[in-house]
Amino acid sequence: MAKQKAFYFDASACIGCKACQIACKDKHDLPLGVRWRRVFEYGGGSWVEQNGVKVPSSLFSSYLSTACQHCESPVCRDVCPVQAITKREDGIVILDSEKCIGCRYCEWACPYSAPQFNEETKAMTKCHFCYDLQAQGLNPACVDACVMRCLDYGELDELRAKYGDLNEIEPLPTNEITNPALVITPHKHSQKSGEGTGRILNLEEEV
């Protein structure tokens, strides 16, 4: 198996605090509007009346922290007309903003919103797995930021051996589009991608 770096996420321990998102913005000086790592809250359920008392009914909710999945079939790379996106030997998918012409085609193609447009430079940007830190033997900024220790990273096959091979929970897309290099430990409320009965709850994804 080719080398493939991957993120690990423990949905059962995530409190949705976004320390990872901000650590990422800090590490990469990302402007407003660009969030290489994002945190979602996915949930549903309702309240019903029982003997005149409103009680929650099959209420569920859990968090998901996600960035670029450094996919085994990176659709962003395939569609980029200028070959600005490449996959390194270690599996990390990187984007060279100098080459980018800002056509935003990769933005359409990626179901994870990994490539994001920088309005100031008019070029796409994306998570590059802090390969610069990794080269120095350090962890990616997001991994080191997690107060619940629910982010990890490593070789995909090793992570799978340790944590299983789940890589699709709501609200992520099903895995067949890109083969994400991601390993997830689900929350008790996690639902399989495509079979979800809830919605993304975050207001910041709408307003």
Binding site: C80, V82, M124
Partner: protein, 306 residues
């Protein structure tokens, strides 16, 4: 809706109209030359051909506008082996180049008819591949609203519908111009025009039929296909319901009602004025309908995932 999308709407509509126009003009020229000779055929179509050049130019200008860094655009063909966008750009350049070269040759009557014919054919064929590439650009697995048989069908239908309507209007304009200029007899020109307009009407009605059959089929299959697809259908039927209604109405009026009248008035001579009004109005209607359609194409797609 931002500038980015308007640039894409302008680009795709104008370029598709140009490709369609090339094919329509080719057919008009071929049939009129067979019946009335090369000179009458040239007289009929040369100005319309020249008119396509600025339309192509405008289309490509718009395509640059949607880029963050237009100066790097020439590099955009480098991923032709993988990216349909690279292919679109490549065939776009080939089509535009050949079309302009052909228009110039035809205008100045450079080269032999045979040579011009080869260039014209190559240009028209490149145009078809271009429209195919254009539609393939949108065949992204994460975009159910686009990743559908409907994308090539509707793109090609739009291509030819805009082609026939644009050329109908252009040929009418050309005739009016010829007549006003009083450069010679216009009897044959009128004959060609009336015959062309009749065929254009028939083509428009057929293409309208394709649009009208494709639309509900598309919405039904899309809604059944995925949540994201269903979301698009809900948008089209909900927030964009008015736009969708207007588009269908404009199509039916332009390519249906007006086309039928166009056919009727083109049967008898002496209705030039009515014909010209109808041809212009039908073109404007259909153009508006296609712009609306393309607007919704970009505005109502819902991507799978986050």
């Amino acid at each position: 809706m931002n500038v980015h999308d308007w640039a894409l709407i302008t680009f795709t509509i104008l370029v598709q109209m140009s490709v369609g126009s090339m094919w329509v003009l080719g057919a008009v020229h071929f049939f009129s030359a067979r019946k009335y000779g090369m000179e009458e055929a040239d007289r009929m179509s040369d100005r319309a051909l020249l008119a396509i050049v600025p339309v192509i130019a405008l289309g490509f200008l718009a395509s640059l506008l949607h880029l963050g860094d237009p100066f790097n655009a020439p590099r955009a063909v480098t991923n032709i082996t993988n990216s349909w966008l690279s292919r679109e750009i490549f065939f776009g350049v080939v089509f535009a180049g050949l079309a302009v070269v052909f228009a110039f040759m035809q205008w100045r009557k450079l080269g032999s008819f045979g040579q011009r014919n080869v260039v014209a054919w190559l240009s028209a064929l490149a145009g078809l591949v271009l429209v195919l590439s254009m539609s393939m650009v949108y065949m992204l697995p994460s975009q159910p609203a686009w990743n559908s048989w409907n994308t090539p069908i509707s793109f090609f239908t739009t291509t030819f519908l805009l082609g026939v309507m644009a050329m109908g209007a252009a040929l009418v304009a050309n005739f009016v111009y010829e007549k006003r200029k009083n450069t010679g007899k216009t009897t044959n020109q009128l004959e060609i025009l009336r015959a062309t307009l009749r065929w254009i009407s028939i083509a428009a009605i057929v293409l309208l039929g394709i649009h009208l059959i494709a639309l509900p089929l598309y919405m039904v299959t899309l809604a059944a296909g995925s949540k994201a697809g269903l979301a698009t259908v809900q948008l089209l039927a909900g927030s964009f319901g008015w736009y969708l209604g207007l588009r269908v109405a404009f199509l039916v009026i332009g390519a249906g009602v007006f086309a039928m009248f166009l056919y009727r008035y083109a049967l008898s001579a002496g209705e030039e004025k009515t014909l010209s009004t109808l041809a212009y109005a039908a073109f404007v209607m259909v153009l508006a309908a296609e712009v609306l359609g393309r607007f919704m194409f970009y505005a109502a797609h819902v991507r799978i995932g986050i």
